[in-house]
Symmetry: C2
Subunit: 436 residues, 2 copies
């Protein structure tokens, strides 16, 4: 067998330690699949003393020096964050090393720069593990569906928020209580801001949209609402209409009145029918629907996080870039030729569920309905629940622009007979979703 390909591993936490384990345990299989063995050249960590399982001469705190070594062929990065990782990976690529990364934040922030560096050096940049852990998703988007026209990607791509919302749904707990439980059980980090506020899901949505629509999309292009404002009342409203609440990442190809195609990318909590396949995705699982013109609807489901599942995705990429290296070839690079503009959220058409606590007096329903009509928002269903001198009006709208819906709700909230908007939330995945 030919000479080994030598791998530099940057980072050795939950994922990195599983990569080291699997490289060791499955070494013979990986060698047979690649044609040459993979060999660990070094592991960059912050505190070498914390890694007694790894041979001491492999450990280094100097990641830059490791990446620059002539005897390193491939670089695997599982550190996360923007810097110093960007600098390290650009150096690796410039030095002719193919890179496998699990870094969603960096890819969503500055994937274009990394891709350009990879193209310039004629090496590979793969990052299947950056989105939805072990679920093969980026390769199917990039390759399997390369002959089709993807119209929509919608999925649950963050396990922490999915656990919290699942608990709120199951127990009626409020957000704080459910988050505390998630933290206790290890489903949420001590500082869960990136998950709860939707930053993690937004980065993944940017990556998915970029691949699906052959367009550069950055995290900052993604409309983002987290789940911090989701209340027990929202879950209860959702239940009353046969729905549950999920944090969804939604990437759509749209065509506005001007005939121009755009991409709309958003992350927000939404009510979805309990009969929708995404409604049943529990706890730390991820699931993503892809709709394409010829293929129809596809679903991908699996473990979206965790050391071993993420390591599986990293190793799949590592085998691919190693095979390419052995064959003197290179995988598909960035495809951003379509360069579609991003649609502002205000123009994105969604449906809304609105629950209003109102005074129970004559003319209220007419006034509310009139307000929706004034803003050009068509109502699909209204349900009134009386409670003494007060009542709750529950409305579900047809699809209308986000701007029209927002200003309708703003206007309603200012009306004298509206005591409060008890629940305002987008609705996705209902059968009449395609109306307009």
């Amino acid at each position: 067998m030919s000479d080994a390909l030598r791998v530099a591993l940057l980072g050795c936490g939950v994922v990195g330690s599983q990569i080291v384990r699997l490289l060791h345990e499955q070494g013979d299989d990986l060698a047979a699949r690649i044609g040459v063995p993979l060999e660990l050249a070094g592991v960059a960590v912050r505190r070498p003393g914390k890694h007694p399982d790894i041979a001491a001469d492999l450990l280094t705190t100097d990641a830059a020096a490791l990446v620059a070594r002539d005897d390193v062929d491939l670089v695997v990065e599982v550190i996360g964050g923007i810097e110093p990782v960007r600098t390290l990976l650009l150096a690796a690529l410039a030095g002719g090393k193919s890179v496998v990364s699990a870094n969603k934040a960096l890819l969503a922030e500055d994937g274009a720069t990394l891709h350009e560096a990879a193209t310039k050096a004629g090496v590979d940049l793969y990052y299947e593990a950056a989105v939805a852990g072990a679920i093969p998703l980026l390769r199917p988007l990039r390759e399997s569906l390369a002959g089709d026209r993807i119209t929509r990607v919608i999925g649950i791509v963050n396990g922490t928020t999915n656990f919290v919302l699942s608990r709120m749904d199951a127990t009626g707990a409020g957000f704080d209580e459910a988050l505390a439980e998630a933290t206790t059980l290890g489903y949420a980090e001590a500082d869960a801001t990136a998950d709860i506020d939707g930053f993690d899901a937004a980065a993944k949505a940017a990556i998915l949209a970029g691949l699906a629509f052959h367009t550069r999309v950055r995290a900052s292009d993604v409309y983002r609402e987290g789940i911090g404002e989701v209340t027990a009342a929202d879950l209860s409203s959702a239940k009353a209409m046969g729905c549950t609440v999920k944090l969804l990442a939604i990437c759509e190809r749209t065509r506005a009145g001007d005939g121009v195609e755009r991409v709309a990318v958003r992350v927000h909590p939404a009510m979805i029918p309990r009969t929708h396949p995404l409604a049943g995705v529990g706890d730390a699982f991820n699931a993503v629907f892809v709709e394409a013109e010829a293929a129809g609807s596809l679903m991908f489901y699996g473990r979206g996080a965790g050391g071993a599942p993420t390591a599986s995705a990293v190793l799949g990429d590592l085998v691919a870039v190693a095979r390419n290296r052995v064959n003197g070839s290179k995988g598909a690079g960035e495809s951003s030729y379509a360069a579609l503009p991003v649609q502002p959220m205000g123009e994105v058409a969604t449906r809304y569920h609105v629950a209003l606590d109102v005074s129970d007096e004559p003319g209220v329903l007419a006034a509310v309905a009139g307000t929706f009509a004034q803003h050009g928002v068509s109502i699909q269903t209204v349900r009134q629940e009386g409670r003494g001198d007060a009542a709750t009006l529950v409305l579900v709208t047809h699809s209308a622009t986000d701007a029209a819906l927002s200003s309708t709700v703003d206007r309603l909230s200012g009306m004298q007979f509206v005591r409060r908007a008890a629940s305002v939330m987008r609705v996705e995945g209902m059968s009449s979703d395609q109306d307009s």
Copy 2:
């Protein structure tokens, strides 16, 4: 833009006509993704008069001459069947043309010969469309999971049988009635033998097992039972225990008492719990579960057949082989290094549901239980339903070898107090599946 890559299309039926349409409609996108345009060089059909939508000068009845033409770079085959296709594709590969095929029967019969020809010529042989239509499945197995150890693949891969079984489940209809409905609605061909008897699913199972376990598996290695013997009574028995019946393709990595790893590949109807995700897969949809050591459980779901979905998979492959051609590279070839032996079905461990109509007399249950014990088969549950002088005994076994279960049932059927075995069927996907 560089010179076009020229494509020969062999066959122009339901799938081929969609390929022609998509090549035309999405030509600009495909060109941008590949780097050069794709151009149809010719279409081999049996009756040129039947294809008024295709330019007459592209049509030919001489597929062999088309494949041999110097101006053809890539060959797409959607004819199906073994010959003359094998001869045509071997000629194409030997002539340096990359091949994209949707031909499950040929790949499962003689994939090794085709792969060897592709390797020898340094060209690609891709066939994503051969299994589960539009669902990206072969590429994820071959590439995304190349760094993992797949232990099991279980799926619904035939739409016709799934439609028939879904109807039997929903309406209580017998097999003949449900098949007649499927034929009327276009879900079954006039001669549905290949579907009903499980040949189609067995070919797909062979392809899946080969990729999952890096081992050559042929259709003849696959244990196969169709759904022709499934009765309304089976569906009714399944319902009584919270199950439905599906035709499953199951590929497993096993390790017997001798410590030798083998692959077990089988297609047969089985009862699965209604709570199992595969139970909800209706009509013409396909779904496949993949279990891998590091990745855990993954599910892939989508349209398993039909012109446009299958064409989507073909075009994804076509873009891939065209990109490789442009880059002077080659995708991953066959991986059969593991060469695991195939486990005979008699040694495969499964669970069984057995419903026996028996005389309601003292000692019957003891005799039945004793018979199971004599054959080393452990019983998980027994339910007795009395009906006057007769009773039905419904037993579900723990996992035991197929040979032991079969001989138990043979023995029981011969016993004087057993009037008949009303339903005998394997059970999959129950929570205690991993017992032994």
